[in-house]
Amino acid sequence: MSGYGISESQLTDLLRSIDGPSAMTKDEADQVLDQVYRQAGFRRSDAGRPMRVRSSTSPEIHHELMLIDRPTPVEAPAPPMIEAVDLVTRDGRTVARYAPTDGQGRRRSLGRRLLLTAAVIAVLGAPFGVFRYTLDRPARAVFDLQSTDRPDVPHTTSEPDLNGQRRAGDEERSSYPYVVPQPPAGYVPELLVATGADLVKVGADNGAGVSDRLEAGQNVVRAFDDLGAGVVVERIGADGRRTISWLDGAAERPVLSDAILHDVGYAGSPYAVVETGDVDRAAGRHRRLEWIGLADLERTPLLALGEGQEILSASASGGLIAVALGNGECGELRFVTTDGDELSIETDNGECSAPDHADVTNVALSPEGDAVAYTTVTYRPDGQEAGTELNVLDLATGNVYFRRRIGESGHGITSLTYDGDRVAYVLQSPDGETVAAVARASAGPREGPLQAPPEIEHIRGIDQLSGVSFARVPINW
């Protein structure tokens, strides 16, 4: 069997070979039953023997009754209550304070937070500040809506009803802190291409052809979907100043100026990953990577760059952010969460001191955050540049399951995006020409009767290219 090849019938045979009978022992079954009663809040001693009674109306029918107490109510902790809500402007001034109550003098619980926020935004228009909540007790696990990983929060998928259907309101019982928006069934991610002049959408249906030019204004150099049908764009004005804006359908909202937009992620609400500081100077100081909530414009630092360090590329998925970081000699991959925790994930891009080390140059996470695509510049043993390789690494197993050369010596990748199945990138040749291409980064033979498309296809009809990104949900703004 080759390293990456396995047919479905082989796989089926192999897996079915391990499916043997498995049963609980009598003791185990008894222990589990004890556990069942305890977990359900019943006392097993009261369950006792079933009692048979004969129906007076239908003597042939026996009713079997269980002597079971009603479930013992479990004392649920009361949710944190809001003492006060302050509306704070960006320069730190408190312009309004109120203590929300439910009309009968009782304070609101934290669960009302988003409703209150939405209500105030509806009254005041676009958010011009942030809401600061004073609670009657610490409540990090509930309050910190930006965290991806919250082991303290119980997570339960709602149970189906007797027909296997979920009921309305079940989502509230599920304590998933947030759910990253999913595309509709059958949606194949479209490609957003920033041309430096405008924004173009390349549909999946018409292959490599241009399907639509979006009215995102002029001078768009980067654009990412906001996972809610809108887009976030970075423009460079005639004066050379960078501005980041959120086009969400209702309006264009300014997000930040003098910053580079690297990606847009989602952690309860959409956020942008931005590079701030002296971003337009070669030896810019105080550069750092931050994430900024698009709804409340709250900024959180992720990485502060040291002397000589630069951010080559960054990509977000859920609460995970992958960063390609350069230090003047080598490029490396780093992973941080929106909590600010740094994760140690090793990639095999070699030792920087070795003459044939490989430099990471670009990075793109899959929408599910379970795989990462990255490009490396590879070198020959004599230290001469050999070319650019595209790699896809499965984060759960550490396997690089896709690797192929996509550029020759002197070529550069200026933008990279990954939809979990295909990688798109902008390739710049030594003479400055740019071309966008889509590579299918799948492992093994494709399933089904479909004719496999060419492994790499170039997008035609767009002259200038500065950035590409897959729209994870359809854009309809």
């Binding site: 069942v36 079971i68 998928t157 189906p160 007797l162 069934a185 759960a396």
Partner: protein, 172 residues
């Protein structure tokens, strides 16, 4: 004219339901947890605890319902493990206890290979290739798109083939 009404079925005791179906639920969970006995016993208890509450509320607890509940519990468990893993190191073997130098039978090799995969990949491979669940059903289970599930399946297959091939090379 007299009408013949269907007599109501007698209520079934919870213990009878438990005895009739615990092996089916337990086997399902054992298969999906790669024979992890303790985890399967715990999950079985959780499923029946939920079923007990439904039963006392008057619901008809069938084996199909129990297996569906077991599947939901299992997916919750996988998500929990993934969230924990994401917080720490991701690229560690899921099963460091095995000595790869030991000669194994093929079925053991398959089990060991599965144990090296992430819980999500294990779930997908078993549900797709042992239980013949199709991609839309898996997408509904996991709350993901068909497209995402196809990508995950491709990666799961590649990961399995890679790990299995390495395992068999050790044996040979």
């Amino acid at each position: 004219m007299p009408t013949s009404a269907t007599p109501p079925l007698p209520p079934v005791s919870f213990e009878a339901i438990y005895k009739a179906h615990h092996d089916a639920v337990f086997s399902f969970l054992m298969r999906h947890t790669n024979n992890h006995r303790d985890r399967s016993l715990d999950l079985t208890a959780e499923v029946f605890a939920q079923a007990l509450v439904k039963h006392t509320a008057g619901a008809d607890v069938t084996q199909a319902l129990l297996v569906t509940m077991a599947r939901r519990r299992l997916i919750d468990e996988i998500r929990k493990i993934e969230r924990r893993a994401r917080k720490h190191l991701l690229l560690v073997s899921q099963d460091p206890g095995h000595d790869p130098a030991i000669r194994v039978e093929e079925t053991d090799a398959v089990r060991r290979t599965l144990a090296k995969l992430s819980p999500l990949h294990q779930y997908l491979l078993i549900a797709r290739f042992m239980e013949d669940r199709d991609v839309p059903a898996l997408a509904a289970d996991l709350g993901r798109s068909d497209h995402a599930v196809r990508s995950l399946l491709r990666r799961a297959k590649a990961a399995f083939a890679e790990a299995y091939s390495a395992s068999m090379e050790v044996v040979s």
